[in-house]
């Protein structure tokens, strides 16, 4: 039985008269890992910004758990259970990882109803237990990314949006994150990932959508997507995946 948690309905978006995309329809099932791929500048991050309420779409709506949340303030959306990790790594640098977690817990964490991890569990999952009291701006890039993931988890979200978390990381670190995401999905958190690394998509995603030149050009399992003619043509300019 299908249990849709998030639905994007006919979204259309553009900036300053320039259209970015239109006719975007995506429905996300509870507990799945959905991948979004697409060329640079195709509007993946913009899609996240619309879901989070940072941008209002030109038309169309975002429905979360049956409620139309289009145009609602970002902090209210966060309190309803949508968490996020940014493409630009932006933990709260003046605070320690522990404080990053605490401040998230004290805000959205109070109202969100997703699976709850204790602070110790979050530190453990994100490999930050040893570093929990070091000011974040003294940490390495992978650790900073971990702090962001920890912060998102501390909100007890039902959905987490990951924007290129593996970008700039090395093999082992990417593996760790794939394992983490699988773990989160098992706990019942719905995950949407934007990724450029195909292995990542192939390994963890249940389903993938492809954004290209203003519309969704394909949707399916990772295997289907990799062998989809349109995707190979448009997205990779004919190169083999």
């Amino acid at each position: 039985m299908k249990d849709t948690i998030l639905q994007l309905d006919n979204l259309e978006m553009g900036f300053g008269g320039l259209k970015l995309f239109s006719d975007i329809n995506i429905s996300v099932e509870k507990g799945e890992i959905l991948g979004i791929i697409g060329t640079n500048g195709s509007g993946k991050t913009t899609l996240f910004n619309i879901i989070c309420g940072i941008y209002t779409p030109l038309s169309g709506k975002v429905v979360y758990k049956g409620e139309d949340i289009t145009g609602i303030a970002p902090h209210q959306i966060a309190r309803k259970g949508i968490g996020r990790c940014f493409q630009m790594v932006v933990p709260f640098e003046s605070m320690t990882p522990l404080e990053n977690i605490k401040v998230a817990r004290a805000n959205a964490g109070k109202s969100c109803k997703g699976p709850e991890f204790s602070i110790e569990e979050i530190l453990e999952l994100t490999n930050l237990t040893d570093k929990k009291d070091i000011t974040t701006n003294n940490l390495s890039l992978p650790d900073k990314k971990n702090v962001e993931i920890a912060r998102a988890l501390a909100c007890n979200p039902e959905i987490i949006l990951f924007d290129e978390v593996s970008c700039g990381l090395a093999g082992e670190e990417i593996r760790e994150r794939m394992a983490l995401m699988k773990k989160l999905a098992e706990k019942g958190i719905t995950i949407i990932v934007i990724e450029h690394i195909m292995v990542f998509i192939k390994e963890i995603c249940d389903r993938v959508v492809v954004l290209h030149a203003g519309s969704l050009i394909a949707e399916g399992t990772p295997d289907e997507i990799i062998h989809n003619e349109k995707v190979i043509d448009a997205y990779l300019g004919g190169r083999e995946l």
Binding site: H75, Q76, V90, M95, T96, V103, D133
Partner: protein
């Protein structure tokens, strides 16, 4: 047990310090007593400014308004011959200041950065001119405030100063204080964890305004006379802001150090330089020097130096990362 002992030591220290001030006041060294009192006043006002200015990063150039509201809440009733007990006016001045901050937060906190700075500056100028020209508010000649004996006054000033510092230390380490810093660090990410930017800034402004009004209130009690030029002048806003800047924005000890440095420099320069306004020149040079050599203020620079030394020691003993907290007080 330990806490009790600390509290007792604290109270004892307070009494001794206040007694010392009273002694200075009574002997022919009252100059030093006033010196310390002014440091305390700026320190309190600076803590109030720092909540919004340092922890959230929204720079106000109009905190003299809250300073003035505190002073005039005490002075106006006495100017009209109404006798209200001091504890009541103290609470009233904080309430009025807080409510006023709440009222102006609606337009002011919806603008940011430079616009906010200009807006608060304008507000200060408006207050100065209204109080200067309005007969009902005793205009330029100001109001006399009833005498309070030094035995009460000094402990009150020292006590309020210490309580303010303790309260702010507690506040900035609480969840609300963490939210302030989250908003300053990355506003967009703060929203993504459910923080209402506008409401959080309003909280910082209102609490800060109440603290700053305390400084104005104590100033009125101490100087026994309140006038627009001594309370609402933008120069006061300037000094409040400079204290935090020189000492270190967004740290509890910043305004403590900055307030002391400013008053000490201002007063020594005032007696050393006989040209009118010469002491302001010295203060200006001081600010430029601090901004050029340690952008984040004296206290943050000291913290970083200590950090560096600590790290060097750590690495020689084979440790890769410092395990201890890298910040002393934030």
């Amino acid at each position: 047990m330990n806490k009790k002992r600390m509290l007792r030591a604290f109270a004892a220290g307070l009494i001794i310090f206040a007694a010392y001030l009273a002694y200075l006041h009574g002997s022919n060294m009252s100059y030093y007593a006033s010196f310390i009192v002014y440091i305390c006043l700026f320190l309190i006002a600076g803590q109030g400014w720092n909540l919004l200015g340092g922890y959230i990063g929204e720079i106000s150039f109009g905190h003299a308004v809250f300073f003035g509201i505190g002073a005039y809440t005490l002075a106006l009733p006495s100017g009209y011959g109404i006798d209200i007990p001091i504890p009541v006016t103290l609470v009233l001045s904080m309430l009025i200041s807080g409510l006023f901050a709440l009222a102006i937060s609606y337009p002011l906190l919806r603008i940011r950065g430079l616009n906010f700075l200009v807006g608060t500056f304008g507000l200060g100028v408006v207050f100065l001119n209204v109080f200067k020209s309005s007969k009902q508010l005793f205009a330029n000649k100001g109001v006399f405030v009833p005498f309070v004996s030094p035995q009460v006054l000094y402990p009150l000033i020292v006590g309020v100063t210490i309580i303010t510092v303790i309260f702010v230390t507690y506040l900035v380490n609480s969840n609300l204080g963490l939210s302030f810093r989250a908003v300053r660090d990355v506003p967009e990410a703060a929203e993504m964890i459910g923080i209402n930017l506008y409401k959080t800034k309003t909280q910082a402004l209102v609490i800060g305004a109440m603290i700053t009004s305390l400084a104005g209130f104590l100033y009125a009690l101490y100087s026994m006379h309140v006038s627009p030029n001594a309370t609402f002048d933008p120069a006061i806003s300037n000094d409040i802001l400079l204290g935090s800047y020189i000492g270190g924005c967004g740290t509890v000890l910043g305004p403590v150090i900055g307030g002391a440095v400013i008053i000490i420099i201002q007063e020594t320069a005032r007696s050393a330089i006989t040209i009118t306004g010469g002491h302001n020149l010295v203060l200006g040079i001081m600010l430029v020097v601090v901004m050029m050599t340690m952008k984040e203020g004296i206290w943050v620079t000291i913290q970083k130096l200590v950090d560096k030394l600590g790290k060097k020691k750590g690495s020689s003993s084979g440790k890769k990362l410092p395990k201890e907290k890298t910040e002393v007080i934030r």
